[in-house]
Amino acid sequence: MSLILFIEQMLNGVQFGVMLFLMAAGLTLIFGVMGLINLAHGSLYMIGAFAAAWVAGMSGSFVLALIASLAAAAAAGALIELTVIRRLYDRDHLDQVLATFALILIFSEGTRWLFGSFPLFLEIPPYLSGPVTLPGGIEYPLYRLAIIGVGLLVAAGLFALIARTRIGIQIRAGEADREMIAALGVNISALYTIVFALGAALAGLAGALIGAIQSVQVGMGEPVLILAFVVIVIGGIGSIKGALVGAILVGLTDTLGRVLLPAVFAQFMAPQAASSVGSSLASMSIYILMAGVLVMRPSGLFGKA
């Protein structure tokens, strides 16, 4: 493999990692603040993608579509927080897993009932489509560079939100001592609704951005959800920094595994067998990575023990 191709594949790995980060950020934020495992996060991702596809189909504007995805996912998030999620904060993880699993069933089939069983159309806007040439002669799709940009912006925004703003101070105080800040007159239940809606909006944005280069269909959230969980568990649950590092690690492991493992096996096996065996191992690679990290560090890379 040439050096240029290798660099391009590294870039692909980072880019895939950033895509995962967009999804994982909301998940880890919600866990960090409220201690809630939200399996329905993938459904919010799907809602964002469907809202974007629907609005883009009606209006033809990608910007409007992104706004719609944020709004729809935030609204859905706030709705389920008010009706279901807030009853789960002081329950054990088991109840949270089952209740949010039930929400997945409702959202998935509800979406299919509304939009039908066929995938929807959502495309990259013309001003972001096509490849650009990077230094070194790598041709790389502009849209994927834009996703990297948005992902880094989201990361910076979240760091700033938590470190600099009033709501961030309340969030950190709430993580440390819930009763105390309630006693200080902070409306904790409103704060939780806001945080949940914010996490949901991030999932919706991820769904819309990624939906433009993937298939917008019912059930699109579940595979990404599992990857996002892998990411936040590797990074340490509740840590935004951990989510970013974990996402990039998973992205690189997955991409390089897919590319390199078949090549390694091809050294001593027939091409078809090498490709098949290499690909099997590659599909297990991120789970092996996760198990390895947890065995070494049972609370993830940046988690609090």
């Binding site: 299919r112 995938p119 159309f121 799709p141 280069i213 993937q214 991409t255 091409p271 599909s283």
Partner: protein
Amino acid sequence: MIKGDDDMKLKTLAMAGALTMAACAAQAEVKVGMITTLSGGGAGLGIDVRDGFMLAIEQSGRSDIEVIIEDDQRKPDIAVQLADKMIQSDKVDVMTGIIWSNLAMAVVPGAVAQGKFYLSPNAGPSALAGKGCNKNYFNVAWQNDNLHEAAGAYATDETFLNAFIMAPNYPAGQDALTGFKRYFDGNIAGEVYTQLGQTDYAAEIAQIRDSVADHVFFFLPGGMGISFLKQYADSGVKKPLIGPAFSFDQGILQAVGDAALGVKNTSQWNKDIDNPTNAAFVASFQEKYGRLPSLYASQGFDTGNLLISAVESADVADQDAFRAALEAADFNSTRGDFAFGNNHHPIQNIYVREVIKEGDVYTNKIVGTALEHHADAYAPECKM
């Protein structure tokens, strides 16, 4: 939104139909059990097969065919359970409907061993075409390898020299690449197995760009194909794509959009095949369901008409006569001439189609024939 309402209406219709038919069960001579995927991710295919099949039954005007429809949720163990129910409680005579090869492998061997007829409207795993063929198993669609073989033949005809071939890492994917290679005379410049359900193909596209291949053959059914086509179109790589029809059917094309335009794909059916049955089918399907029929709908329709042709000439209680009537395949197919080979799989033409845009709708038109009167590679191994 319109879609959802339609589905509901359809369901009610089908149920009402089943009820009225059950009410006059004394007259019903043939009981058909249809197990297909109606909920969850792959529901679009099952709904098309069901709608095509029920259209044929409805147009025949017969009241002696009762159809029981159940949803397998694309889970093999649910499919087996439903098959048990249909055989044990409903006592069906004929079964049909399964979309996926792995579900077919779970249900078909057991069903035919218990003396039921099985008419496959979609899946055609190689295990059921060769040594594992059965006198009561008929495939009305294709053997799984057929469309891939046609893609290989087409690539050879176009004098492509180096192929980059790609499929998910599971049995149907491995069969696809084997099928392509069986009819492709050039070199394989790259052979890649992707993960089942994979959504991001940046790494594979980079390998395609880097390889010496002059074209790409890919088999990525459902959402995987949509993702790949969108990402490939955006990557600026211009190597021509060839694939089987599964990534280019009517339900999927609208979600891919311009990214699919001009792509060549292989299929045994298209809406512009010129015969009266096909024209009437396309028009009546569109009128009834408000959408263009897909490949799967045509297969469901042909399966329905094959069944009707057999019911017309033989009594299902007389298994040998009924089997002979099915073997004769004396019905008007949307594909024109239709005949079964010795292993009860079709011998048929496989066409090359190109994705075009008609007004606002993306669809296919036939641009050539890849293989004529093509039988599958496993037929010689079948001893009935």
